[in-house]
């Protein structure tokens, strides 16, 4: 009772790092806008069967090369397929690649980086030499090589991006673990008898999480770009599956006569990439302890 009186007003609520970050993210207008666009794209991808006016493979040779009109809001392609429907189905590929490939990157990169950072020594040396070689490769060149080996297809795109993308995350995780390992709380955990894996998983990794999250948010648009680029040069998605990059690559030859064929998928890629960049910037600022209020 006396305590209540002395304080006079309600104690300010305790705010965790994540609550604070979430609050700051919501205040960032560009990030919210980007997030809404991404949610809309995700919904379109999930419910493509219900939303799309036609099926993405449905050809109609009587309506080939049609400019946007009432029946085909974004026109039709050289086979008479509805562009709007193909764009909606294309969101599926982009969204899947963005999230699944990034999941693969994290599940390869984080354990490798954590092991290298925590155990050090020969393991670390070997891993880091491997990482150096991977860095010497121009990234896209390597992805194209692997895609040529595996053949086109969605699953292979996940694998190719996973195999080449883990390097960054591994490096980042290793640096974080190295820095955290030397701090008192980790020594304390070891002193009270926690085992190596327990210290790593329960004490170090949770503290290394925010830079990893930032890297992942920027990794998603990069993966989407990689898929679009691969499909653009014809080693990504197998037709007739709809992919935005593949459409841009295929239709850029018609750009002066049937401009809309190329412009709509280009715009779709541009809007998606921008939205993810907005969210990425927002997440980075929100998790930056220097900007905390």
């Amino acid at each position: 009772m006396a305590l209540m009186l002395r304080r006079g007003k309600k104690p300010s609520p305790e705010v965790s790092l994540w609550q604070d970050a979430w609050r700051r993210l919501r205040r960032n207008r560009l990030a919210v806008l980007g997030g809404l666009v991404i949610i809309a794209l995700g919904l379109a991808a999930a419910f493509a069967d219900a939303i799309a006016p036609y099926h993405y493979t449905k050809a109609n040779f009587l309506h080939a090369y049609e400019f946007p009109n009432r029946d085909f809001p974004l026109g039709t392609d050289p086979l008479g397929r509805d562009m709007l429907s193909r764009l909606i189905y294309g969101a599926r590929v982009s969204m899947l690649v963005g999230f699944v490939a990034q999941l693969m990157v994290v599940s390869i990169g984080v354990p490798i980086g954590a092991l290298a950072g925590y155990y050090g020594g020969t393991v670390d040396l070997l891993i880091m030499r491997g990482v150096d070689v991977m860095y010497a490769f121009p990234r896209l060149l390597f992805v194209i090589l692997i895609m040529a080996m595996l053949g086109a297809g969605l699953l292979n795109i996940f694998i190719a991006i996973g195999l080449t993308g883990w390097v960054n995350i591994a490096r980042l995780t290793r640096a974080q673990i190295l820095a955290l390992k030397a701090q008192e709380f980790s020594e304390g955990a070891r002193a009270v008898g926690a085992s190596g894996p327990r210290v790593l998983c329960r004490h170090l990794l949770p503290n290394a999480l925010s830079p990893i999250i930032v890297a992942v948010t920027f990794g998603i648009p990069e993966a989407i770009f990689t898929e679009a680029a691969l499909s653009f040069i014809g080693v990504g998605i197998n037709p007739p599956t709809a992919s935005w990059g593949q459409m841009v690559g295929e239709y850029q030859q018609y750009i002066l006569s049937y401009w809309y064929l190329c412009v709509f998928p280009s715009a779709a890629i541009a809007v998606t990439m921008l939205s993810f960049t907005f969210v990425g910037d927002g997440v980075r600022d929100a998790l930056d302890p220097k900007l905390r209020d």
Binding site: A136, F137, P138, L141, L145, A229, I233, V263, A270, L274
Partner: protein, 311 residues
């Protein structure tokens, strides 16, 4: 310094060897062979195929093929292209590399000038209209893939306002669109870094001193801020070479520029082993040398940084 340089150059050797080995293995694990790139529709009889394989050394065990490649490559001989049968790989690269190099160099020069300009403008007028404009421009330019940007630029400058050709590599008019397309992303990255690094320097004590002794704003910015702010930007040039190098794949194919990027894609689909190896190693060496140069330059420009010092 000398020791550092030698060590860096020596490190190049195992790195390049590993790159060559990985490329070689991946390439040979790729289904399809240079003798029958189109699978079943091969017009050659088995006997003829065997002859061809013997001619190119493809009948030998893999380790021997790799060894032969290494020995020849060290003498600058990358063999004959399997796709362009009358030309050696070295000849093709000799034609294509200068084109890519010129495109890349022009793009980087434009990117650096515009990028630094935008960054300085934004930092000097922090939180003003100019700041927001340049930050937004940078954000858009960095997040939109260059082949998408190419589509919009072609539409704008070849279709709506027909002033520039859609492709080719004949004269200066052809160079404009590919160069600009390729320059946009690096420009944005440079602008972001310049802005951040300028803002940091502007608040430093020695800048306050410079102002306190009565220098004009222009003098402070040009003599004191820019010089110091540009150093971190310089480190970017290494990764930017890589971005421009691989970015030119798409730009070259859209604008029909006869550079390296086009040959790489053609050689991949044709299983042109000698070409693939040569192109990958070419990029690898180029990137490594550029990174080394940037590191050295870094030490020259900023005496506070001792290249090769521990820590």
């Amino acid at each position: 310094m000398m020791f550092y340089l030698i060590r860096r150059i020596l490190w190049l050797i195992p790195t390049l060897l590993a790159m060559a080995l990985v490329t070689f293995l991946v390439m040979h694990a790729t289904p399809g062979s240079p003798l029958e790139p189109e699978g079943g529709n091969n017009p050659l009889s088995p006997a003829e195929q065997n002859n061809l394989a013997a001619k190119y050394g493809l009948d030998r065990p893999l380790w021997a093929q790799f060894g032969v490649f290494l020995v020849n490559a060290m003498q600058g001989d990358f063999g004959h292209s399997y796709v362009y049968k009358t030309r050696t790989v070295a000849e093709i690269l000799g034609d294509a590399f200068p084109v890519s190099l010129r495109l890349g160099a022009m793009a980087l020069v434009i990117a650096t000038c515009l990028g630094v300009g935008l960054g300085v403008l934004a930092a000097v007028h922090q939180n003003s209209f100019w700041d927001y404009l340049s930050v937004t421009t940078a954000m858009v330019a960095v997040s939109i893939p260059n082949f998408v940007m190419a589509v919009f630029l072609i539409l704008l400058f070849s279709f709506l306002i027909p002033v520039l050709p859609t492709g080719g590599w004949g004269g200066p008019r052809d160079w404009v669109l590919p160069t600009v397309t390729l320059a946009l992303a690096p420009m944005a990255i440079i602008a972001r870094y310049t802005r951040a690094s300028m803002l940091e320097v502007i608040h430093a004590d020695y800048i306050r001193t410079a102002r306190a002794k009565g220098l004009t704003d222009t003098a402070v910015i040009s003599k004191h801020v820019l010089k110091n702010a540009f150093i971190p930007v310089l480190t970017l040039l290494g990764p930017l070479f890589a971005a421009v190098g691989t970015g030119s794949f798409f730009v070259e194919s859209i604008f029909r520029v006869p550079g390296m990027g086009r040959f790489f894609v053609i050689s991949m689909t044709g299983r042109d082993y000698p070409m693939i190896m040569a192109v990958v190693l070419c990029y690898g060496v180029f990137l490594a040398v550029m990174n080394l140069l940037v590191d050295l330059l870094y030490g020259v420009l900023d005496p506070r940084i001792r290249v090769g010092a521990k820590g």
